[in-house]
């Protein structure tokens, strides 16, 4: 069932942004609606549109109140909400461009790349090999990119693998490290402090500001983790810029 336009709630985030809220539950259908509206607004930008930021259940539209001014004596916020209300039915009906091929992310699991693999295995009551098999089995959906440049929030983790965050966050997690936090899994895109359980590392660079599209992953994509050995990790790492 496509989301009816009337079910989308609009509210301000300050004087230069409006949030479109598509319900309160994370799920593929909500996600599809957000992507549909995002693609439509990207294809049909209106004067004053600055930037679109998709999240789990929201799409935030940043706008320039100055450029929305001048149409009578109404608030820029009233004008933008009216524009968005008019566009929403068509936007929600937009077929979302095909998600394309599943993006494969090679991961070397365990050892120094995944120092918490054993902890996750013990928490789940599984062997390390079973953890790797379950983590690399599903196609994950990239719900949003946030926290740090290029950092993907993924949906679809095997419930058995859910593990609480570490009591003490590490001061530095290397870029490319794959982690688990509660029912979430994700990939550290840059070296940052972090409290997730670290189970492996990809040699791919998830964020490269010299690329036209600096984030390797985009909200709406599907991805799969592919286990690799150390030799392959090192070879792939040499090929990355």
């Amino acid at each position: 069932m496509p989301t009816p336009a009337a079910d989308v709630r609009l509210f301000p985030l300050g004087d230069a942004a409006v949030v479109l809220e598509f319900g309160h539950a994370i799920g593929p259908e909500t996600h599809r609606a957000i992507q549909a509206v995002r693609h439509y607004l990207t294809q049909h930008p209106f004067a004053g549109l600055r930037e679109l930021v998709p999240a789990f259940t929201t799409l935030t539209v940043y706008y320039d109140p100055w450029l929305l001014n001048g149409q009578g004596h109404r608030l820029p916020y009233e004008q933008i909400t009216e524009v968005l209300r008019q566009l929403l039915p068509a936007a929600l009906a937009t077929p979302v461009a095909s998600e394309g091929a599943v993006v494969e992310i090679p991961v070397c699991y365990g050892d120094e790349f995944g120092p918490d693999l054993e902890a996750v295995a013990q928490h789940a009551g599984l062997s390390r090999e079973e953890v790797v098999a379950r983590h690399s089995a599903p196609d994950y959906l990239v719900y949003m990119i946030g926290f740090a440049p290029g950092f993907p929030y993924l949906g679809g983790l095997d419930a058995r693998l859910a593990t609480p965050r570490r009591a003490r966050p590490r001061l530095q997690v290397p870029a490319g490290t794959v982690g688990i936090a509660g029912a979430q899994t994700g990939i550290y895109s840059l070296p940052t402090p972090g409290g997730w359980q670290l189970i492996g590392r990809t040699p791919l660079r998830l964020f490269d500001p010299t690329r036209a599209q600096p984030s390797r992953l985009q909200a709406g994509q599907r991805l799969r983790f592919v286990p690799i050995g150390r030799a392959e990790f090192e070879q792939l790492q040499r090929n990355e810029p």
């Binding site: 985030l13 942004a17 929201t58 990119i145 926290f147 740090a148 500001p209 600096p214």
Partner: protein, 337 residues
């Protein structure tokens, strides 16, 4: 043409009006904390408003100009001098090659801006020259300036060249000369130590207890020592949310006041993360970002509640003033032989 950094000061970075269009990639906006001060500085030297300048924090740098330049200093008053003599804020200043800019006591405010005609010409990264320190992005090699750095500057615009010629004529044979005019106090007011910051209610405002809502709008908060370009932790009455319902991460922006479980609010600033999951109690209005940006750790502030309509009217009024300043500068050049 270049600026030679002899001493870096406490924290001096290259900033413009920010890196827009990449928040969906998780890339923070950055840019000047006090964007109005940078825009005014750029207008005073004939630049486009989004040209890159230097953001100078509390303890100023020492800089030698390696060629004749046209500059303007805006924002915090950090007692600037040129070759040891005091120079005015908020006005175009011509400086001869070899002149040294230094700073003394921090008299008011937290962040000063050095605009230079032509702009600081470090490479664009994702459409911006702003420095984002945490990811090492933009600016000069993604980092704060150090002694020995040499920053290239681009040639002034035709307007900048005219202003420069007018002031150079006044200077002869001195090493620098400043214009006598300055924009009004509404655009270039001196930052005061105790301040009211206007805000509208945030998306999760109603989830806070009535007592916490009252406390937020009626009691003072203090900027804690944990205050940087990403955000200010504020100390004040404990603010309690009435629900434990988990929030899903969503967009946060400059001026978002979020409240973690500790009950002590955090006001997000220029290097704010793109998304967050803490309840958003309030949202500082865009017109008052400069007030927030000029507060130092230890200073007090009060939040004053305004409506969205008032916030947007103030936004438009500020933009109108900046456009009037741009016209005024152009007029001054054309009217003067």
């Amino acid at each position: 043409m270049s600026l030679n950094i002899l001493r870096p000061g406490l924290l001096t970075t290259v900033q413009d009006l920010g890196r827009h269009g990449y928040q969906a990639d998780g890339v923070v906006v950055s840019g000047a904390m006090d964007a109005v001060a940078l825009r005014v500085g750029n207008l005073l030297v004939g630049n486009a408003e989004d040209a890159a300048g230097l953001e100078i924090t509390v303890l100023g740098p020492r800089i030698r100009f390696e060629a004749d330049h046209l500059i303007a200093l805006t924002g915090a008053h950090l007692s600037p001098t040129l070759n040891g003599r005091s120079v005015g804020m908020n006005r175009p200043v011509w400086v001869a090659a070899g002149t040294e800019l230094a700073f003394g006591a921090a008299a008011a405010g937290c962040r000063a801006y050095l605009a230079v005609a032509g702009g600081v010409a470090v490479p664009l990264v994702l459409g911006s020259r702003s420095t984002y320190l945490r990811a090492g992005l933009g600016g000069l090699h993604g980092r704060a300036l150090r002694a020995g750095d040499v920053l290239p500057t681009a040639p002034p615009t035709p307007l900048g060249q005219k202003l420069m010629a007018m002031l150079a004529a006044l200077a002869s044979p001195k090493t620098w000369a400043q214009a006598s005019y300055t924009p009004g106090p509404r655009l270039c007011g001196t930052p005061l130590p105790a301040t009211t910051v206007r805000a509208i209610a945030g998306p999760e405002h109603e989830q806070f207890s009535p007592a916490s809502q009252r406390a937020f709008w009626q009691q003072p908060f203090r900027v804690s020592p944990e205050a940087d370009r990403m955000g200010y932790r504020l100390q004040g009455p404990e603010l309690n949310r009435q629900t434990n319902a988990e929030l899903l991460s969503g967009a946060v922006t400059f001026g978002t006041v979020q409240v973690p479980a500790s009950g002590q609010p955090i006001a997000l600033m220029a290097d704010h993360q793109t998304t967050g999951g803490y309840p958003r109690l309030a949202q500082v209005i865009t017109a008052d970002f400069p007030v927030l940006a000029q507060l130092r750790p230890g200073q007090q502030l009060w939040f004053q509640r305004v409506t969205l309509a008032e916030a947007q009217a103030l936004y438009l009024a500020q933009e109108r003033q900046l456009r009037a300043l741009r016209r005024g500068i152009a007029l001054r050049v054309n009217l003067t032989p």
